[in-house]
């Protein structure tokens, strides 16, 4: 039976159930032996008998279930594209080798310094014509093809310049070879320049070959991210474990992951615990401990334990898919710094052609004899030296490498403009809760008085707070549980709003709460006054515990500062940035936390809806402001700031409003993002400076401006060497960004 394989795009899919519906519909067709649909790539691959099944039938099988098949579109897989690219490079390399060998032989037989060492046959002009012709029209065919196509659109590009330059040299040399008498008649020694034409083509092709290889490196990061995607998942269905393709996983599936395996999609652990390496997605180098109820991210690696999790996000909704989308968008965006280069490059080639005419005329009219020869060689040099590609590549290649490098470190940059603005930041505002601090209060200090010991104190506090719904109660109960303390049974529990709680343990009355509660109960605090003041000055909330109307201890609770906060802020201060903290806390607490972090400018008692106004106030001081936050209430401030930076654990709203998203919770990433921006911008500036100055300096040199004073002219062959290295150097400089340290 004749079997055909066809891959085509499908439009309208949005979930894994669409995959099954389309696959079922295709498989039902008589003549279709296999049909697989990929949600991520939105493509279907069908193996079928072309005698029984037509394109129209495939199309209607898909449209019958409510989707659209784009069958006429021939889809090549990534492997096919890779092979095609390899073939292109292979062909190019062959042309480079042939043209450089032939060009080299011509050069040997014609270059003044080498001619004496060459075989006589190579000095024959007809032999040189024979060697130069395949280089000109076979190796250089691509230049002609591109030029003719461009001319049809009244457009000119680099190929146009190469074609005009080398054709002029080739035709002149052919005339010299075929009609030497004519040249003698006009007073020119009949000397061909086949070497110029052939070697220029060889060198420019060589430049293209290296450029293509280097350019592939600029999009490596995105390829790496795509490669992270897991291929299969071990799904528990109907009590059985089955290996399914990633596309067949649906939301709600329970998936088992064993040690060393890749987590296939995003989800929440339902059973088991493990240590997970998330470095490939978040840039966080340390493995993260996860237990039941924690979220797991697709494409990360399970290190130690076995667990099952419920799939919550699949296909284009997974974190990895979102990261890839963000990076692709950033790489497709344009940086404002590029505008000038864009404008110049759109006029560049026609201007160079006009300069070539001018060069010819000036050398022919005013130049030394033989004027025609000087005019021709200098015109060719002008056409060949001009390099618009370097200008076009200067910014995008650096942006691609920069955004890719960011993604590798868990720094997602929304677009090139954000990357550009980030290097100008002067002030950086941090939201306190959840950004500088963990956002979850924790017990920091336990002080027991008299015969009471700390464990019993915590047991009492934990027991009585177990029934409370207050946010601080959770911290105390959690601390007691973490120390494996067995809690007492509490009777007559009662919450006293604004004060604390009370209850009976072992027939003893316990009160637990703030100063007001102690005063109300008539419990003296004299014993602990100093200690309370000290803790409050450190930005902590102090709660007192009274047993049978006597103070027996204090428990201080605070929203703990993240481990990475101090280091992260020091790194920013080292960059010369002003750091500001913004919080709803009271002045005393805010100041204490600010001081502990080395932040001198603290904006306290700021209500959530006032954050945006505070950002604008600082902007009004003439500063470029970045805002770092994570909550929904931070979104307006993030949007108002010149650069909004969302911490990855934050809400989707915050991430949507942000220019830069830090996937990991490490505050050092903020400084890393700014360093990355500075280094990328430095690379872009260097690239642009190189690309502009190269053309600004060397085009006049090729025109012969140095000749009147220094008698210096640019050999067209050297012009082609300079041209070929010019664009490669820009791409290589961008690739060097990969090696630069941003940590």
């Amino acid at each position: 039976m004749n079997q055909n394989k066809k891959t085509f795009s499908i439009k309208g899919m949005h979930c894994a159930s669409c995959v099954m519906v389309i696959e079922d519909s295709l498989k039902k067709m008589d003549g279709v032996t296999q049909a697989t649909v990929n949600l991520a790539t939105e493509k279907a691959t069908v193996i079928y008998d072309p005698i029984k099944v037509t394109d129209e039938q495939l199309s209607s099988a898909v449209s019958n279930v409510g989707y659209q098949a784009l069958i006429t579109e021939e889809i090549k897989t990534e492997d096919d594209e890779q092979k095609e690219k390899q073939q292109e490079l292979h062909d190019l390399r062959f042309k480079v080798v042939v043209s450089l060998i032939l060009g080299g032989l011509i050069l040997w037989g014609s270059f003044p310094g080498l001619i004496k060492t060459s075989p006589v046959i190579l000095q024959n002009f007809f032999v040189q014509l024979l060697l130069a012709t395949p280089v000109q029209f076979w190796a250089g065919f691509g230049f002609y093809r591109a030029t003719i196509s461009a001319i049809k659109h009244r457009t000119a590009n680099m190929d146009t310049l190469v074609v005009i330059g080398t054709t002029v040299a080739y035709i002149y040399s052919t005339v010299v070879t075929l009609l030497p008498q004519l040249m003698i008649k006009v007073g020119i020694e009949p000397m061909p320049y086949f070497d110029t034409a052939a070697v220029i083509i060889g060198l420019i092709l060589l430049g293209r070959y290296f450029e293509a290889k280097a350019k592939a490196g600029t999009s490596e990061a995105i390829k790496k991210l795509i490669g992270l995607q897991a291929k299969t998942a071990r799904v528990l269905r109907a009590g059985q474990e089955i290996d399914l393709s990633i596309n067949e996983v649906v939301i709600g599936d329970i998936i088992r992951v064993r040690p060393g395996e890749k987590i296939p999609v995003d989800g929440i652990i339902v059973e088991g615990e493990s240590s997970i390496d998330e470095s490939m997605v978040t840039g966080e180098s340390m493995p993260v401990e996860k237990i039941s109820g924690d979220t797991v991210v697709g494409a990360t690696i399970n290190k130690t334990g076995t667990f099952t999790f419920r799939a919550t996000k699949i296909g284009q909704e997974t974190m990895l898919a979102q990261i890839i989308k963000l990076v692709q968008e950033a790489q497709g965006s344009k940086a404002p710094i590029q505008r000038l280069a864009d404008m110049i490059s759109s006029y560049f080639v026609p201007v160079v052609i006009m300069l070539a005419f001018l060069t010819f005329a000036v050398w022919y009219v005013f130049g030394p004899a033989p004027t025609l020869l000087f005019a021709l060689l200098n015109t060719v040099a002008v056409l060949i030296i001009a390099c618009p590609c370097a200008m076009g590549l200067a910014t995008p290649t650096a942006i691609m490498v920069g955004t890719g490098k960011g993604a590798e470190h868990g720094i997602l940059i929304k677009d090139a403009e954000s990357l550009e603005t980030a290097h100008k930041i002067k002030t950086i505002i941090f939201d306190k809760t959840g950004t500088l601090t963990k956002g979850k209060p924790e017990v920091t200090d336990i002080t027991a008085f008299g015969s009471m010991d700390k464990d019993t104190l915590l047991k009492l506090a934990g027991s009585i707070e177990k029934g409370s719904e207050h946010s601080l109660a959770e911290a105390i109960v959690k601390e007691a549980e973490s120390q494996n303390l067995v809690l007492f049974k509490v009777e007559k529990f009662q919450a006293i709003p604004g004060h604390g709680v009370e209850g009976m343990v072992d027939n003893q009355r316990i009160v637990f709460g703030n100063k007001r509660l102690m005063n109300k109960e008539g419990i003296s605090l004299t014993l602990a006054d100093d200690q309370i003041a000290k803790l409050e000055d450190a930005g902590k909330t102090v709660m007192m515990i009274g047993l049978e109307n006597k103070l027996v201890g204090l428990i201080a609770v605070a929203d703990i500062v993240k481990d990475s906060a101090r280091e992260g802020l020091i790194a920013l201060q080292k960059l010369g940035l002003e750091v500001v903290m913004i919080t709803g806390d009271n002045q005393r607490t805010a100041k204490a936390i600010g001081q502990s972090l080395g932040i001198t400018r603290v904006l306290a008692e700021v209500l959530p809806d006032q954050k945006e106004a505070e950002v604008r106030k600082i902007q009004a001081e003439g500063k470029v402001v970045a805002m770092v936050g994570d909550g929904i209430n931070d979104a307006p401030a993030l949007a108002a700031a010149d650069v909004g930076i969302a911490m990855g654990s934050g809400t989707d709203v915050a991430i949507e409003a942000a220019d830069i998203t830090l996937i990991n919770k490490d505050l050092k990433s903020v400084a890393m993002a700014i360093v990355l921006s500075k280094k990328t911008m430095r690379t872009i500036r260097l690239n642009l400076f190189w690309a502009f100055s190269y053309n600004i300096v060397l085009i006049p040199v090729a025109m012969g401006v140095l000749y009147p004073v220094f008698k210096l002219l640019l050999n067209p062959i050297f012009a082609s060497v300079a041209m070929a290295t010019s664009s490669i150097s820009v791409v290589v400089n961008s690739l060097l960004l990969k090696r630069k340290k941003i940590v």
Binding site: H153, D159, R208, Y364
Partner: protein, 119 residues
């Protein structure tokens, strides 16, 4: 001045004028697109200027026929899109512009240009 020199000056001058006129003064006609448009990439973009509607999804189907490496990518910077165009393969880009105006699309090296007019 010798006649040949005068001829060279005149021809060069005419060459400059012609180059300016031919490459820098061209004005294209915008092709009005309702749902989708096939854009052939061969030494440039055909059609080069398209006019699409604001707030409506329009499909731009690019097919590259030109093997020039310069054209292997198409960049719609204002829409944050950079796409690889495999040779002789249709690549569809969907646009739903939210604001009107003129936006350029270019090759990866910004040598070839097209224009999208959003009305």
């Amino acid at each position: 001045m010798d006649a040949d020199k005068i001829i060279v000056i005149v021809v060069s001058f005419l060459g400059i004028i012609f180059t300016y006129w031919f490459f820098l003064t061209k004005k294209g006609q915008a092709v009005s697109v309702s749902d989708s448009v096939d854009i052939v990439v061969d030494g440039g973009y055909s059609p080069e200027i398209i006019s699409i509607s604001k707030g409506k999804t329009t499909k731009l189907n690019f097919t590259r026929r030109d093997p020039t490496s310069c054209l292997e990518e198409v960049v719609l910077g204002d829409f944050k899109i950079r796409r690889h165009l495999p040779l002789n393969q249709k690549v569809t880009i969907e646009l739903k512009p939210e604001k009107s105006g003129e936006f350029t699309y270019t090759c990866g090296m910004n040598m070839y240009h097209g224009k999208i007019i959003v009305k």
